[in-house]
Amino acid sequence: MVIGKPCPDDETLVDYLEGRLSDEYRRAIDAHLVACTSCREQVAVCADVMNATSLTDDMVQAPDPLTRKTLEQVRSADSRKKTRGMLSRTRRLLTAGLEKVERLTLRLDAAPVVLRGNGKERAENIIRRQKTFNQTTFIIELEKTGPDQAVLRVFPERETTDRYQTTKGELLRVSLFRGDRELVSATVSKEPVVFEDIDFGAYVLAFVQHGEKIGEYAFELNESAD
């Protein structure tokens, strides 16, 4: 089974930079930074910014009109409105042309789904979707593991496990994006790809073959109404 963990959260990266992690945890973050270029870049740039300024007197002063404009936007925004600004525009650019973002709610009383194994079983906290890209059918499974968290599993449908590998021997790759940021990526094999500790929010799962994207599944995990 291939396990891919998402990147460390921002607070962990701050603790790493400010030297508050245990030696063991620090070594784990070192290993992640060796492999993850986006986290490494984030940490390097933050270190540069920290070296250049303190949190008080060296800061560039924001112009009053800018602060007023931001205040105005915060006042007028409410919980139902989408964020205006580059992030929402980026998300719209990313999802433009894709199938509609599917909003999923993970809750304790989820409808029963057919699980792997024999016959139907009543499942709790699990949502399952089947998507076909380039004649390969994938099962995408989301299971709630805690408050605002889920685990994501991706694997080829049993009947198509022989077709996931192309005639040239190149394997399929699946990547999980949040906004513009690739969180984690793994090679699809006969064993499930597992992404743990997925926070609730909007994601895009991208499938790549021959270095080209063959399909995407956009979804948004929401909190249970319970």
């Binding site: 607070e11 701050v14 992690l21 540069d48 800018l66 205040l71 964020t83 980026t90 650019l93 940021r181």
Partner: protein
């Protein structure tokens, strides 16, 4: 009202608690309190990456940081835990760095899309001004050699080499990232380079 001279600047805890409770006044005080930090960080990232953005983009990013923190009943802000003594200001700075980097990456991707793909035959006889194909192949092979040597090093040594030599980070940046003093970082760098040389030499010997 001067945003620079707020009397009785509120504590982080007061601001955070007020925002999470939906207190509009505290949310506005939050913006006023951190407006300089966010603006300064945006400029810091642009300086670090030697990037340029229009005034409108900078203003958009400034607003986006706060909107992202406040939207959906401060959903993002609720993720801050302050464990291990991480300050709210440091956390906001890290979030701002990530947002600006994400924006720069998306802008680069947008610019990288070719407007038009021209057939190769139309430019068959234009000479290249860059390195020769042999030089490029040699450089790629050398790079592959170094990469293999790198994988034989510890994670700390790899980070030192990648950050300083591949990604152009200053030694003071690397010192902060690896939690080293300015004095130590030079010797750590020297040892990492020595180990890389030994690893590459071993690799070369094995190939003979």
């Amino acid at each position: 009202m001067s945003f620079k001279n707020m009397a009785d600047a509120p504590t982080e805890h007061t601001l955070l608690a007020g925002c999470l409770a939906g207190d509009r006044n505290q949310q506005e005080a939050f913006v006023c309190h951190y407006t300089n930090l966010v603006f300064s960080t945006i400029h810091g990232v642009l300086r670090s990456k030697a990037a340029c953005l229009s005034q409108m983009d900078i203003e958009d990013l400034h607003s986006t940081v706060f909107l992202r923190l406040m939207e959906r009943r401060c959903r993002k802000l609720r993720q801050y835990q302050g464990r291990n003594g991480c300050s709210l200001a440091s956390w906001i700075r890290m979030i701002t760095v990530r947002l600006v980097l994400d924006h720069l990456r998306s802008s680069k991707d947008a610019l990288a899309r070719p407007e038009r793909i021209e057939p190769l035959t139309d430019h068959f006889e234009i000479p290249s001004e860059g390195p020769s194909p042999l030089a490029r192949l040699t450089a790629r092979e050398q790079q592959a050699f170094v990469e293999t040597g790198l994988h034989a090093l510890s994670n700390r040594d790899q980070l030192m080499i990648r950050l300083h030599f591949f990604e152009g980070c200053s030694l003071s940046q690397v010192a902060r990232i690896l939690n080293l003093t300015d004095a130590n970082v030079h010797s750590v760098k020297h040892r990492a380079v020595q180990r890389l040389k030994e690893a590459v030499a071993r690799q070369a010997a094995e190939m003979k």
